[in-house]
């Protein structure tokens, strides 16, 4: 219950092709995250899955049945939006119950499900309040509750944490992860934030300009990026890309993650000068101008005393460098 299959879905708005052929399979119970830069078509793909938007071509199947002609309310899905999208004139309780009422569910059953969801999300004290009387975090929990009471086969989240402040974002992220573990339902989650993607996903789908760049488990994408786009998108700070010719390598581009570079004050491969240092406590990010490799970022664990102007030698960990060809594709090691 709750598998999803997308075959060659394309979407154009007038002359603009937003999705250029998406194929994807999601297994029952999986937590899949769509990640990609703003405007790459993540929300559009999610809306097509929900039935809020018609695909220009291609099919969407839920549980093996094509749903192209099924209205959103009948697809067995529930959706949580970035802007919460609560009904302003209804109380929290009625916000959660409206969909079930609309589907003709019995009052006692609606009551029971609202009870379960509000306990799960600690919403009991607010059931009689209107959305205007709640904080941002509480509103988003109500929106999640509204999805939970529908007991859907498929949960769809469209950047649900983007409007929350940093502390709440971490809390709500945990809550969503816990919800997935408890319900075991299939979830599709859209975000532009790679940290959310890495922490929540069983499987990440990296989208760029209307195409899927790579699909895989978080660590798979981190360890074996298929191309420069994925390599640059996953991981923070961003991977260093160095022109292969500068290093005397046959590959077009060499990629090294900032955390895979060692520094030493006296000896090493690349001599450089510290341009800027970010001291974060747990890590230190150094920006070096090197003679051989140009401007690179180095991430060191713990504290490291290095002020701008200091000369340092950087050495990449050879086993963890990536090589990319002319088209940006990874060259197998």
């Amino acid at each position: 219950m709750g598998s999803l299959s997308i075959q060659n879905v394309k979407k154009s708005f007038g002359k603009v092709d937003v999705l250029k052929g998406i194929d994807l399979d999601v297994k029952d119970g999986e937590f899949v995250v769509f990640v990609g830069p703003s405007g790459c078509g993540k929300s559009t793909l999610l809306r097509i899955i929900a039935g809020l938007e018609d695909a220009t071509s291609g099919t969407v199947q839920i549980d093996g049945k094509p749903v192209n002609d099924v209205p959103p309310a009948k697809r067995g899905i529930a959706m949580v939006f970035q802007t919460y999208a609560l009904y302003p004139h209804l109380t929290v309780k009625n916000n959660m119950g409206l969909g079930l009422k609309q589907a003709g569910e019995a009052a006692a059953e609606i009551e029971r499900r609202i009870g379960v969801a509000s306990t799960m999300l600690s919403l009991e004290p607010y059931l009689e309040r209107r959305p205007a009387e709640l904080s941002g975090g509480q509103r988003q929990r109500v929106a999640i509750g509204r999805a939970v009471v529908r007991e859907p086969k498929l949960f769809l989240f469209d950047e649900p944490l983007s409007n929350l402040d940093a502390a709440l974002r971490v809390n709500t992220r945990l809550e969503i992860a816990e919800l997935h573990r408890r319900l075991g339902a299939t979830m599709i989650y859209v975000t532009h934030d790679q940290v959310e993607a890495m922490t929540l996903a069983d499987k990440i789908v990296v989208l760029n300009a209307g195409r899927i760049e790579q699909v895989g488990a978080p660590m798979e994408l981190y360890n074996n990026p298929a191309n420069t786009f994925v390599a640059g998108f996953i991981g923070s700070p961003k991977m260093n890309f160095i022109d292969g010719a500068r290093l005397g390598d046959t590959a077009k581009t060499i990629g090294v993650r900032p955390e895979h570079i060692l520094v030493d004050p006296n000896k090493g491969d690349w001599k450089g000068v510290v341009i800027h240092a970010e001291h974060l406590g747990a890590d230190t990010n150094l920006y070096l101008d090197t003679e051989k490799a140009g401007r690179i970022t180095v991430r060191l664990f713990g504290e490291y005393a290095a002020e701008p102007g200091t000369t340092l030698y950087a050495t990449p960990v050879n086993a963890r460098t990536y090589r990319f060809d002319e088209a940006g594709r990874a060259i197998a090691r």
């Binding site: 809306r47 809020l52 309310a73 939006f81 609560l86 004139h89 969909g99 589907a103 469209d158």
Partner: protein, 279 residues
């Protein structure tokens, strides 16, 4: 916030401008009302003076209430205004929703077409409208006026409301669709309450010209049973003698209902604005 925006000089200047504007806008109305309570001689001798115990006179009101069927005229005006207003708001909002919510071929063109009436006065079509009403047997009915006023009010209503409806959150409408609400429920229950301030604005702009209109009642419905207040008041304006007491009294009375409607809508307007600010 810089303190400059709160400086007393600026506050004073702003208030002076607003008070001056209010005085200019209210002066004619005030003149009509105070003169309606004066005797005929006093109106001509000192038109700007307030009524005094010597020249206080309710003869105008007495004439108005005695003469003709003023209550009927009032009723006609109210029916025409309220029904037209309702139709303008309903159809205007529906058209605006369709234009702002659905993508279809010719959407922009349709929007421009519907807004054309803002620039072209409906009176240019009077002859054709009269022919139409004669042909359909609607002359001397309130229906004729209601139809014309609905057509007259729609362009501005569609124009203003579609701008506001574009700002209503897509996520909210989509949440409704996922919960299985019909497009009608989404329109009436989710979107309309959120554009209430805009509806109030449109209501005020639509209502006043309808209530004040003399042109179409005179041409389309001049019969005794269908006269509106503005037309009814004309009986006191003669070619040789004008009964100023009665005219001024009739006009003063005509202000009242429209004032009540205005207060209702403006309260909606203010409530809409403040509720948005608190959220």
């Amino acid at each position: 916030m810089s303190t400059a925006t709160h400086s007393p000089a600026r506050t004073f200047a702003a208030h002076a401008v607003l008070i001056a504007y209010t005085a200019i806008a209210l002066f004619p109305v005030l003149l009509i009302v105070i003169n309606s309570f004066k005797s005929r001689n006093a109106i001509f001798r000192s038109p700007l003076a307030l009524p005094t115990p010597e020249n206080f006179d309710l003869i105008g009101y007495a004439t108005v209430l005695k003469q003709g069927d003023f209550f009927l005229y009032f009723q006609n005006s109210l029916i025409v205004t309220v029904v037209s207003l309702f139709l303008v708001l309903l159809f205007g909002a529906m058209a605006a929703f369709a234009l702002s919510e659905y993508r279809f071929k010719g959407n922009t063109l349709m929007g421009l077409y519907l807004a054309l009436g803002i620039m072209i006065p409906i009176r240019l079509g009077t002859v054709a409208i009269l022919q139409l009403m004669v042909a359909s047997g609607l002359v001397n009915t309130l229906t004729a006026l209601i139809l014309v006023y609905t057509a007259q009010g729609l362009p501005l209503a569609v124009f203003i409301l579609s701008e506001f409806m574009k700002q209503v959150s897509d996520d909210l409408k989509n949440a409704g669709r996922i919960d299985g609400l019909s497009e009608y429920r989404i329109f009436f229950r989710l979107v309309l309450p959120l554009v209430r301030p805009a509806m109030a604005t449109v209501a005020v702009f639509t209502m006043i010209p309808i209530w004040n209109d003399l042109w179409f009642p005179l041409i389309l419905a001049p019969s005794e049973e269908t006269k509106t207040v503005t037309l009814g008041a004309q009986i006191f304006i003669g070619q040789y003698v004008t009964n100023w007491n009665a005219v001024l009294a009739a006009l003063s009375l005509a202000i009242l209902p429209v004032l009540v409607l205005y207060v209702i809508f403006s309260r909606q307007l203010i409530r809409g604005i403040t509720s948005g600010a608190v959220k």
